[in-house]
Structure formats: C-alpha cells, structure tokens
Amino acid sequence: MGQEQKVKFYQKGTYTVGNRLLNVKERSVQASMDRSNSLTCGHRACQGCGEALGARYAIDAAMRASRNQVIAVNATGCLEVFTTPYPETSWQMPWLHSLFGNAAAVATGVAAAMRVKGRTEVRTIAQGGDGGTTDIGFGCLSGMFERNDDVLYICYDNEGYMNTGVQRSSATPPTARTATTPVVGPEPGNVFGTGKNMPMLAMAHKIPYVATANVAALHDLEAKVTKAMHIKGARYIHIFVPCPLGWGSKPEETIHVARLAIKCGIFPLFEAEYGKVTSTVPIREQIPVDDYLKIQKRFSHLFKKGREEREKIAAIQAMADENIEYFNLLNKEGGS
C-alpha cells in the first residue's frame, strides 16, 4: 500500500501487512463478505492461475470503487476463453469480447456511448493479457492513451501467449523458454535485448495514471485500482500474474513466485501521473534473481548442474539491479 500504509506489522521480508492486523475498514476488498465477486467461481482457469486471481482482485476493487457501475471489454486470450465458454459466463457484470487486438478501441466506444447516453456514473475497463496489450493490441491501446479516452486498461502480464500454448510475446523475459523460443542452439530461450516495457511506454503518453501491480501485493493492487477508478481519462495498470502452465512453476506457488519477482527487483511496483513517477513500493530485503528464476522450469536451462549459466543469470541480475536503482527501491520510505 506504499505511502498510505500506516501500520508497521509486516509479513516476513516484505512491507506487506497481514490483513487480519488491520482494522476492518482498511482490510482488502477481497476479505470483505460483500465483494462483488465479479469473476465468480466455476470458470475454467488452470490451477493456480495468476490471471484469474489478478482479474478478480482488480475488478472487485473497481466494482467497489464505482458502486458496481462497471462495463468491461475483454481482449481475446486465456481470460476471455476460460471465463465464458458458451452458454456459461463467470462475469457478474456487463462484459464484451470483440477481438484480440481491439479491446482498447472497443472500450473507447463503450465509454463514448455512456457519455452520449448521460450515463456518467458508468466506468469502462478494458482488459487483456500481455500479447493483447504489448503486441497485437498496442496500436489501439496507444490510440486510446493518446486521445486520453476515459478508459482504465488493465494488462494481466504472464509474459507470453499462454492461451495458444506458451509462445513468446514482447513481454517474455530473456532466456525464458517458450514454444517459439525453445532451449536449443547457441542462445537458448528468449534472446536478450528485445521486448517492450509497457508501463514506461504508457507513461510516455503522459496519461493521468499508470501503475504496476502484482497479485502478491493485494492491498497495493486494490489501492491502485481504486485510485485509478477515481481518475478521469486514460489510465493503465500492469499486473504481474504468474502462469504455472507456461512458467513451469507449482500451482500452489503462484503468489510465492509473484512475491519473489517483487523482492528481487525484476518487477518494480510504482505509480506514475502524467508521465512522472509519483510513488514506489520499496523492497525490504533484496534477494538474488536466482531465487526467483530457479523455481520456474522456463529458466531451468540456466541452472544445469555443473553448467550454470552464470553470465546470463548475471545479466538478469543486472536488469533487476537497474530497476532497483532507477526506482530507488531500497529506500524504505518509498517514493521516487
């Protein structure tokens, strides 16, 4: 919860506060009996799916912030497929799926319709995976940002095309094994020096609000969604959501994996307004990236016995260190 956190009872090794230690008002939306449960049970996500968690956390928070006046537009992808196999739907709110690459534009249209119909209380959210955001949907997303349309876009980043069977996207990290970056040849896995930093690209549009969030930091995630819901104009939240199937991590360790991504610095948590970083979530004890990488099979080729790829691991460590330095994450006061 960054600066807004007044309590100092942290979970081990983090600045995360246990929900039960908070007074009732400050507890998470998820802990509330009256949460909207907008993405309800019965959907067909894999065990331990980070995206299903992320979407439920985000949308429940958005529903509370807007008194349930939310319309969601969904890009094609896992989230779309596992929530709405006809004739069933897990969405307890108005929901529209059009195409893979146009969620931001469709949401612009929905928001325009609400405005012209005088339904100013209704807020529009567009959501998609990293492929639908950083690759095929990037044009429409950039257009929505540039026009400052009144849409909150949420990207659930699991670092690849998981719905089609784990292929590389421009959000796939270097060395990661995917079906299109197999562990063969002189440069196994995804190559270094590629990929997009979508939150920074969003910031470059100088939109009112950009934030990164992580399923392992529930309070922070909910606070950011809540804040975004009270801002007009184009907003972007990039949520880190592990994919046990694609990453080769244990389903029961989704939150653990996500938390290690924060602790090692590879996924920095921050907020930005009009292109300027306004807050960061500090790291209490930095851990080496090895701890994060080792528990995922997509990186297992880096850790073969006797043939550890120390240079490559060091290069990933350098990426984490760079994040930590850029966002000043070891400063426990937070801020930038």
Partner: protein, 415 residues
C-alpha cells in the same frame, strides 16, 4: 431542400439528420470528405449529442463503433479500399455480434499496385462478411440509402454498408434534395438496442461458441438477411410515401419488360448504361438494364423474375475475381440456375478506368451478335500486355510489372 453540393457533403449532412451518437473518423481517399463534413457539423453544433472520435486506424474506427453500438449508441463510420481490408476482422465481428452499425464505403480499388480510383474490389471482398450491402446509383440515392440503412440495420440487428462509387459520386457536385429533420425523425425512430451493455442488467456479449451451437448462430445471421430481403422493399416503399421519391429497394429496372438483352450492374455506371440502352432502343434493339441496389442480401427470386424472360444477360463488373472472372455474374448465374440464357461477364472500370458509352455500345452490339468471349475485359490494352509478357519470357529478372507497363505506355506516346 434542393442544394447543389458535393456527394460526400450531401451524405455527411444526411448522416447528421439521422442523429448519430458516435462517429468514428479515419481518413482514407475517397471517403475522407464525408468524415470531414461530419466533423464540421458536430463542431458547429448542427449535429448535437454526438461523440466524434478521431481514431488511429480503420481497425480502431470500426472497433470503436462496435463498442459504442454495444453500449446502445447509434454508431457510424466510413472507409474505403485498403481501410476496409485493414478493418476486415472487425467487419466480420460487428455482424457476428449483430450490431447495427452503418458504414459508408467510398468504393475504391485495392492495391497493389496502389490506386485511389473507383472500382468495387473493396466492398466485394467483404460481400460474405454478414453485412447488408446497398449500392447507390446516384448521390441522391446514396443519401436516401443512409436513412434507410439505419432503419434496416436497427430493425434487423445487422450492420449495413452503403456503397457509393469513389470520386464518381463522392466528389461529384450534383443537385440533391436534402430532407428535413422532421421527415427523417418520422421515418427513423430512436435506436432501441436488442442487446446492450448495462450494469443494471449485466450480460456477456461475444462469448466463445463451440461446434454445438456455432452453425445455429451463423444460420441466424443468414436468417436475418433473409428477413432483410423482405423488409428492404417495404422500407423503400415507406420511404417513397414519406419523401416522394424512389430510392433503395432490391433492384431498379429500366426498359426490361420487352427486353431480349438485359444489362446488369451495380452503382453509378447504371447511368451510363441507361444512356446506351436509350441509344440502342433508337436503333430498334430490344435492350434494357437492371441496377442491383441490394447486393447482400442477394435478391435471387426478384432477379430471376426480371431476367428469365430475356434471351441474353450482360453483367458489367467493376471487380475481378482473379482466376475465375466476375463475382456479380457468378451470383446472377445462381439466380438463373436451370435456365439456358447466356450470361456474359464484362470486367470494366478497374482502378477508375472510364467506362464510356462508346465502349459499352460496341460491347453490347458484339455480345448480341455473339462475337465476344466470356469473360470480356472492356478496353483492355492488349499491346501493352503483350509487351510485358514478352519481356518476362525474355528476361528472368524482368522487374516490377507496374513500372514496366507505365514505361511502355510512355514510350508508345513518344513513338
């Protein structure tokens, strides 16, 4: 009100009278003047309660319209040529979702080679996308078809393309009769959606459908168009009652009752064809013509009724189904299945080549004398084609075709 204005401006003003609520604009020649005109009308306050959105691509233009329409707003956009292809995925999506968007096509060729001039390759490529396609013969009809298009789209729950020939109509200044707002309001009631995104009554739109129900959903799209086949002439008749002129409907016939030869075409070329029919009638030829307004749904029965008494059908096509011939003539043959009349395909006007009365006259005469091959390419420059074919035969690296041909034409002018 009578006005002497450009076709695009006339269409823009007519769209304004239809009280659109969301307009998505992206420039592409020759449609651009329409969205420019609408932008000015919204800014001036002539069109009220309307969101005019400048988007970043045609794909976004139709996507925004999809969201707006699902949100319950009357939505409009316009495009042409490459723009229509760029939005192709959304074209199918809009009809699949049953959203009554109206879109103007300023008909233009598709590249390569890049060409901004008129033919029907663009809208023809989307003929099976599930959209209703209406083709305008004149600027007056283009205007009138838009008013009818919103009515048809919203009644049936199916998007409508109004196709008007690029430049020939979009940029032509003609006298048109602009309807009054009260007339349009009386004809076109406010949009009541069949499905809408509303937090007070949440629905999921666009969910995945498997083999167990996909065919049924697709059949219902076909059923809608079959219903439109009935409603299009009725709505056109109602339009005539209110506005006092014939516009729209399934087909327009011209001197077909006693005709041995009937010429079939889409769009503005029908004006030229009618002139040729008149000329040939003076020579005692029993010829008539038929202009198809509703290409989708395709009026099989009505066409059979009009065409079957004739001995010979000539189809003038502003498109080319490469490797096959003509798209419209293939559809006409479907209407005449089981009958013996010859249907001659004539590919004409590609990439804006003028279709002259002289060439048509000659082509019709030759067809009637059975002196023409099927498929015929009107005014094709065989000498230039032979030069290019010879060049390709002689030299493996013969170079870019378009450049070669243009050079040949230049050389010939010098010779």
């Amino acid at each position: 009100m009578l006005k002497q204005i450009e076709g695009s401006q006339a269409v823009a003003e007519t769209i304004g009278l239809c009280r659109p609520e969301v307009i998505c604009a992206y420039p592409i020649t020759p449609q651009t003047h329409i969205v420019e005109g609408l932008g000015a009308l919204v800014r001036k306050g002539t069109i009220t309660n309307c969101e005019y959105i400048n988007v970043e691509s045609e794909f976004a233009a139709l996507s925004v319209a999809i969201g707006a329409s699902a949100g319950g707003a009357r939505s409009y956009t316009a495009t042409a040529s490459q723009g229509l292809l760029f939005m192709a995925e959304a074209v199918y999506n809009a009809s699949g979702l049953g959203l009554p968007i109206v879109m103007t096509i300023g008909n233009r060729a598709i590249g390569a080679p890049i060409n901004i001039w008129n033919d029907h390759s663009d809208s023809m490529s989307m003929r099976d996308s599930g959209w209703i396609q209406l083709y305008a013969e004149t600027n007056q009809e283009a205007m009138d078809l838009h008013i009818q298009a919103f009515r048809i789209a919203e009644e049936v729950g199916c998007p409508v393309m109004v196709c008007m020939d690029g430049f020939i109509l979009t940029h032509a200044y003609e006298r048109v009769d602009l309807p009054r707002q009260e007339q349009v309001d009386a004809f076109l009631p406010p949009y009541e959606p069949m499905q809408v995104l509303d937090p007070s009554d949440p629905v999921s739109i666009g969910a995945m459908v498997g083999p167990e129900a996909f065919a049924e959903v697709r059949y219902l799209a076909h059923y809608k168009q079959m219903r439109a086949l009935e409603r299009i002439p009725e709505i056109s008749a109602e339009f005539r009652d209110r506005f006092g002129r014939d516009s729209g409907g399934l087909v327009h016939t011209y001197k077909t009752e006693d005709a041995d030869t009937i010429v079939v075409a889409l769009g503005s070329v029908n004006g030229t064809i009618k002139d040729v029919v008149d000329e040939m009638r003076l020579d005692g030829k029993t010829i008539g013509s038929l202009s198809i307004c509703s290409f989708r749904p395709f009026p099989l029965e009505r066409l059979r009724e009009v065409l079957s008494p004739a001995k010979q059908i000539i189809v003038i096509e502003k498109n080319l189904a490469v490797g096959m011939g003509g798209i419209l003539s293939a559809n006409i043959r479907m209407a005449l299945r089981g009958l013996v009349q010859p249907v001659t395909t004539c590919i004409a006007g590609l990439g804006g080549r003028p279709i002259t009365k002289k060439s048509l006259h000659e082509m019709f005469e030759k067809t009637m004398a059975d002196e023409i091959e099927d498929t015929h390419f009107l005014d094709l420059d065989w000498e230039i084609i032979r030069r290019e074919l010879d060049r390709e035969k002689a030299d493996r690296r013969s170079g870019p075709i378009a450049e070669n041909i243009l050079k040949d034409i230049g050389k010939r002018l010098e010779e």
